[in-house]
Each structure stands twice: as structure tokens, then as C-alpha cells.
């Protein structure tokens, strides 16, 4: 059974139809990259999966439950799916440790001591255990993004959605974040990422999905997509990279 | 005892309201003029003058208006002048208003991106030209709404002049309460009259803010 299953998804902002019937199944452990031009609807698609955007038609099932059922359902579902944002979105008033501990304690009612141990473990996974007591403002962008990953991991999600998580970083900080993502992929985490890092996508992803004007235009394993793109749009897109 | 209907009360209160309005206008105009002078001193290059002007603003913003009214009332007496309550009220409110307006305007001038000053200076404009053609036109636009909005504070401030004996809306309220023993009705009506004066101004200020900011963004 697929972990995430999109069927004929339609989404419009007013008159502007941004997603025009998207169907996509994502298996547990699969690593998928969404690629495509700016404005093709990649972010919108990810945000729909996490219930941050509503949609007009179609359905999204995550581990068998529907995204748009009820606020309570939605909250349960979000606990199963983590999201990493381009702008990190760490909570500036909480230390790194508290950022990671917040959701486990507040949402899952994990006890303090347990949550702290969990937070330290997750921070260790991203190589930042020593920053437990620092505030986000004291970290570099790359470190902040790694904390954001640890924060999402602390909810022990079934899948992670990553929306251009290295785009706001200085070039020299990109690799430390990608290294963390690479580790996650190796450990079998289900990942759906929007990325412009083509070399990275080629290296770690099982499947590339090319979006064009709100549709899934072409998809397949990296070798096929890169070496034998069938449609003119994908050829043009890859030519630009 | 004479019977007072609610209408009688309202009529008397509205009659007293003219003095509130007159004093508010006088203090606002006076404060506007003095405030301009203070602002001018504030942005002086001579540092000690600027400091002095900032001290003036700080002084009036950090002491109660009521104390300023008392001092305006009692100080002239030291020199043998007995000023009527309305003069003391007008003087104190004028100075108080000037300090706040000068501070508002200074904030507006400082809110302009520093690039504006630098760009102007790099074009070789003199200080006066820079002010005249670049800073003032932009500062005026953002200063208009808060300046109008401060009129609300002035009107409310005049209520304190009743304490040094100026007869305006609040004083009339107290006098009528003493005659009618209906404080709930009287002070309720007084509050509503103040509200009727202030709320439209506050709305106007907000409207100006939206309009001028929108115009600002459109450029």
C-alpha cells in the first residue's frame, strides 16, 4: 500500500488553477524529487499534502487517512508527516533543544525527561547536540536548517516533505544540510523534496517527478529522466540547469 | 429640588463642550507651532541644542500632564501674575502637545530609509535642499496620520483642565452630578460626548494612514 496517495488533485487560487489533476503514489521508503520551473506548482503540491493548503477536487490519503477530513484528523496526519521549509522557521524565542522538544511535549504529551533525551538524540543525528542550549539566532543558516530537520524528526514521522530546503543558504552551507538528507535517505526515510540541486537529486532519489504548468509531466528513475527525457519541456528544463 | 431630565443634562453638557473644543483647537495649533520649533532644534547639527530639545521632549513625556497643569497655574503667581485657569490650561497643553508632536515628527523623519539621506547628499544637495525636496515630502506623508490622531490625545487631555478650574465638559459633568445626584447618567453622557468627538478623528487618522501608505507603496 502506498504511504501517500494523491488522486486527481485540483487546486486553484481564485481563477488561477495551479494544480490540474495530479495523481501520484509514494511508497514507504521512497525518495522522490519534484523538479520543474518556478511557478509550476511544486510548493503548492507539498503544502497540500501537509494540509497547509486546501484543494478543490481529488483526494489525498496518507497512511490510509484523508487529509481533509476534520481538524483533528488533520492534526493526527501532520504528526505522521514532517515538513522542512525553505526559511527554516525555527521558533526564535526557544532554545534549539526547546524547539525540538516543543511538539513532543505539547502534542504527544511526552514527559520532559523523555522529550529531552529524544531531542538530544535527534540533534545528534544532525550533528548539533552541542547546540542544545543555543538560540536559533546564534546559529548559521545551515545549522538552523539542520535543527529544523531534527525538530521534524522528533515527531518520528513516516515521511518528510522538504521544500527547497537549501535555497536560502549560502553556497558553502548547502552541503552540510544535504549530507543530513542523504543520511536520512540511506536510513530508509520516505522523502519528498522539491530541489534545484540536480546532482544531489540524481544521486539520492529513486524517482524524479517533473512538474510543468500544474501537471505531472514526466517521471521516472534519475538515469532515465536525465539521460533520456522524452518530452520537449523536460529537455528544455534540463538544458537550462 | 429642580427636576433635571436627561435632555436637560445633555443640553448643558453640549453647551460646555464648546470650551473643550476651543481649548483643544487652541492647544493643537499652539502645540503645532511650538512643536515645529522643537523639531527644528532636534535635528540641529549643534549637538548640545539637539540634546536640549530632546530633553524638553523627554521632560514633557515623562511627567504627568496634571502636574504640568498645576505648575503652569501656580508658577506665574510666584512672579506676581495671577493667570486665569484657561490661560494656564492653554499654555500647559500647548507645551505638552508640542513635545509629543515633535517626537512624532522626529520619528517619521528617522523612519525614512537612511539611503534617502545618502542618495540626496550624493547628488550634491545642500542640507536645506535635501530637506525641502527629499526628506520633507516623504516625512509629511507618513506624519499626517499620527499628527491628526494626536488630536484625540489633546481633546482627552483637556479633561484634566477641569482640575485647575477651567470649566469645560468634564467640569460641567461634575457640576451637574452634584446638582442631580445622577453620576451614572451624567458621566456616561460625558463619556459619549468625548467619544463622539474623538472617534471620528481616530477613524479619519486611520483612513489617512491607509490611503497615504497605499499611495506610498504605489510609487
Amino acid at each position: 500500500m502506498p504511504l501517500i496517495s494523491l488522486t486527481n488533485l485540483h487546486k486553484s487560487y481564485g481563477q488561477n488553477e495551479v494544480l490540474k489533476g495530479i495523481s501520484l503514489d509514494i511508497e514507504p521508503g521512497e525518495v522522490i524529487a519534484l523538479i520543474g520551473k518556478s511557478g509550476s506548482g511544486k510548493s503548492t503540491l507539498l503544502r497540500c499534502i501537509n494540509g497547509l493548503e486546501s484543494f478543490q477536487e481529488g483526494s489525498i490519503l496518507v497512511a490510509g487517512t484523508s487529509v481533509m477530513d476534520s481538524p483533528n484528523q488533520l492534526r493526527l496526519l501532520r504528526q505522521k508527516i514532517g515538513m522542512i521549509f525553505q526559511q527554516f522557521n525555527l521558533f526564535p524565542h526557544l532554545t534549539v533543544g526547546r524547539n525540538v522538544m516543543l511538539a513532543p511535549t505539547v502534542v504527544k504529551k511526552t514527559r520532559q525527561g523523555e522529550a529531552e533525551a529524544l531531542a538530544r538524540e535527534m540533534l545528534d543525528r544532525v550533528g548539533l547536540e552541542q547546540k542544545f542550549d543555543a538560540y536559533p539566532g546564534q546559529l548559521s543558516g545551515g545549522q538552523q536548517q539542520r535543527v529544523a530537520i531534527a525538530r521534524a524528526l522528533a515527531m518520528q514521522p513516516l515521511a518528510l516533505l522538504c521544500d527547497e530546503i537549501t535555497s536560502a543558504l549560502d553556497p558553502e552551507l548547502v552541503n552540510e544540510v544535504l549530507a543530513v538528507v542523504r543520511d536520512l535517505a540511506r536510513q530508509g526515510m520516505t522523502l519528498v523534496m522539491v530541489t534545484h540541486e540536480m546532482r544531489f537529486a540524481r544521486e539520492v532519489c529513486h524517482r524524479l517527478v517533473f512538474m510543468h504548468q500544474g501537471r505531472l509531466h514526466e517521471s521516472g528513475p534519475p538515469e532515465q529522466v536525465f539521460n533520456a527525457p522524452t518530452t520537449a519541456e523536460l529537455q528544455q528544463f534540463l538544458g537550462m540547469q | 429640588m429642580m427636576g433635571f431630565s436627561t435632555w436637560d443634562i445633555l443640553r448643558d453638557l453640549i453647551l460646555a463642550t464648546r470650551w473643550t473644543l476651543l481649548l483643544s483647537l487652541g492647544a493643537f495649533l499652539g502645540g503645532f507651532v511650538v512643536g515645529l520649533i522643537v523639531l527644528f532644534l532636534c535635528v540641529q547639527h549643534r549637538v548640545y541644542i539637539a540634546h536640549l530639545a530632546r530633553g524638553y521632549i523627554e521632560l514633557f513625556q515623562s511627567t504627568p500632564l496634571l502636574m504640568q497643569l498645576f505648575l503652569a497655574f501656580f508658577t506665574p503667581a510666584l512672579f506676581g501674575f495671577n493667570v486665569p485657569a484657561w490661560v494656564a490650561a492653554w499654555m500647559a497643553l500647548t507645551l505638552w502637545t508640542s513635545a509629543f508632536l515633535a517626537d512624532i515628527w522626529r520619528g517619521c523623519a528617522e523612519a525614512l530609509p537612511p539611503g534617502q539621506w545618502e542618495a540626496g547628499a550624493s547628488l550634491g544637495l545642500s542640507y536645506v535642499e535635501l530637506m525641502r525636496y527629499i526628506i520633507l515630502p516623504q516625512a509629511l506623508r507618513i506624519a499626517t496620520a499620527p499628527t491628526v490622531g494626536f488630536m484625540v490625545q489633546v481633546i482627552k487631555g483637556t479633561a484634566l483642565t477641569s482640575i485647575i478650574g477651567f470649566v469645560e465638559l468634564s467640569k460641567a459633568g461634575t457640576a451637574i452630578t452634584n446638582a442631580t445626584f445622577e453620576p451614572f447618567t451624567v458621566y456616561g453622557l460625558v463619556a459619549l460626548i468625548y467619544f463622539a468627538l474623538c472617534f471620528p478623528i481616530a477613524m479619519g487618522s486611520r483612513w489617512l494612514e491607509r490611503r497615504l501608505n497605499a499611495a506610498h507603496l504605489a510609487h
Binding site: L76, R78, P92, H93, Y135 | S62, M67, L71, V152, G157
Partner: protein
């Protein structure tokens, strides 16, 4: 005519003045703490609360912001007893200050809430937090830290405004000045000294609030 200043005439009244300072501090303390709580609750109601709450809270804010404090005080102290609510002068003063600060504070705190970057709420939502949880754990503290300077300024204004409470015979600082003036006829000296004390109190209060802000909001500048 030359006036001879005699600040020495105030010396016997030092206890009266000190008592006045104490009462002013007491009014300010209670007014501030309760007023900020009211501000937060009303700001929440106005920005994220149910519709049936938004309208009355909005009316409260506008009514208070557009009427003088002294009238609010008189209405509470003189007016409310006729509908059966009797408060002593101190309680009436504190209530008036709380209501007053609450109205201004509501708008200030709301501005801080509105300025919350959208990503902050989304990050909270994506972790599975509910609406109220997001407000309490994610939105509120950065919002307060954002507007702390403005809120501090309003607290100082309310402290200075408490001078008016002398008019319902609360024995605060201004009352002390009037008392001394009526006994010693040294009006200028009394008001001058008390004004200076208010100035000191205001500067101190600003300083305390600034340092307090640094302690309460350690995360540095919230974006």
C-alpha cells in the same frame, strides 16, 4: 516682587510624600500586571477569537481609547455605585487603570501578533500543534517581545495618568502635593518636587521594563 523658594518647608511632609510614592507604585504594579493580562486575552480574541467575541472587544477598545481616563475613573467610582457596584478608591483606580491599559495594550499586542511571519504558524501546524497551542507556544512570546518597547511606553503613560486618581482621594503622589499645598501654601515647591519624583519614577520604570524585557525575552530579536 521676588519670590523666596523654600523647599525646606517640605521637610516635615517627607513621610506624606513617601507614602504617596508607595501608593503610586502600588497602583502602577497592579494596573500593569493585570492590564497586560487583559491586553493579551483581548488581543487573542480580536485576532483569532470567535466572531461573537471580536465585536464586543473591539467596542471596548474603541470606547476606552476615545474617552478621557478621568471620566472612566469617575464613571467607575461615582457612577457604578448607582447600579450596585461599590468599590473603594484604590480598587476603583486600579480597575480604571487596568481597563485603560488593557484597551491600548490590546491594539499593541495585536499588532505584534499580526506581524508574526506566516512560516511560524505553518511550522507549528506541520508539527501537529492545534490553533490554541500554536498561539500559546509559538506566536505569543515573539509577539510580545516584538512590541515590548511600545507596551512599556504605554505602561509609563498609565503610571503618569494615575496622577488623576488623587481626584477621588487616593493618597498617591499627586494627592501628597495637594495636601502639602493646602497646609503649607508652598504650592510651587510641592508641585515641583512631586513632578521631579514622577520624572524619576518614569525613568526608573522605563529602565526596569527594558531590563525586564531582556530577561523575559532572551532569544534576541524576533523577526
Amino acid at each position: 516682587m521676588v519670590y523666596h523658594f523654600e523647599f525646606g518647608a517640605l521637610i516635615p511632609y517627607i513621610p506624606v510624600i513617601l507614602h504617596g510614592v508607595l501608593i503610586t507604585v502600588e497602583l502602577t504594579l497592579f494596573g500593569t500586571v493585570l492590564g497586560i493580562i487583559v491586553s493579551i486575552l483581548c488581543a487573542w480574541a480580536r485576532s483569532g477569537g470567535p466572531l461573537w467575541l471580536r465585536v464586543p472587544v473591539g467596542t471596548y477598545v474603541e470606547l476606552i481609547r476615545n474617552t478621557p481616563f478621568i471620566i472612566q475613573l469617575f464613571f467607575i467610582f461615582f457612577g457604578l455605585p448607582s447600579v450596585g457596584v461599590h468599590l473603594n478608591a484604590i480598587d476603583a483606580s486600579i480597575l480604571a487603570m487596568v481597563i485603560n491599559l488593557g484597551a491600548y495594550g490590546t491594539e499593541i499586542v495585536r499588532a505584534g501578533i499580526t506581524a508574526t511571519p506566516r512560516g511560524q504558524r505553518e511550522a507549528g501546524a506541520s508539527l501537529g500543534l492545534s490553533g490554541p497551542q500554536i498561539f500559546r507556544h509559538i506566536v505569543l512570546v515573539p509577539a510580545l517581545s516584538r512590541i515590548w518597547p511600545a507596551l512599556s511606553g504605554q505602561v509609563v503613560i498609565v503610571m503618569l495618568g494615575s496622577a488623576v486618581c488623587s481626584q477621588i482621594s487616593v493618597q498617591e503622589l499627586t494627592y501628597a502635593a495637594s495636601f502639602i499645598q493646602s497646609r503649607s501654601f508652598r504650592a510651587f515647591e510641592a508641585y515641583f518636587v512631586v513632578t521631579a519624583l514622577y520624572l524619576i519614577l518614569a525613568l526608573l520604570l522605563r529602565q526596569i521594563l527594558r531590563l525586564g524585557g531582556k530577561r523575559i525575552f532572551p532569544g534576541g530579536k524576533a523577526r
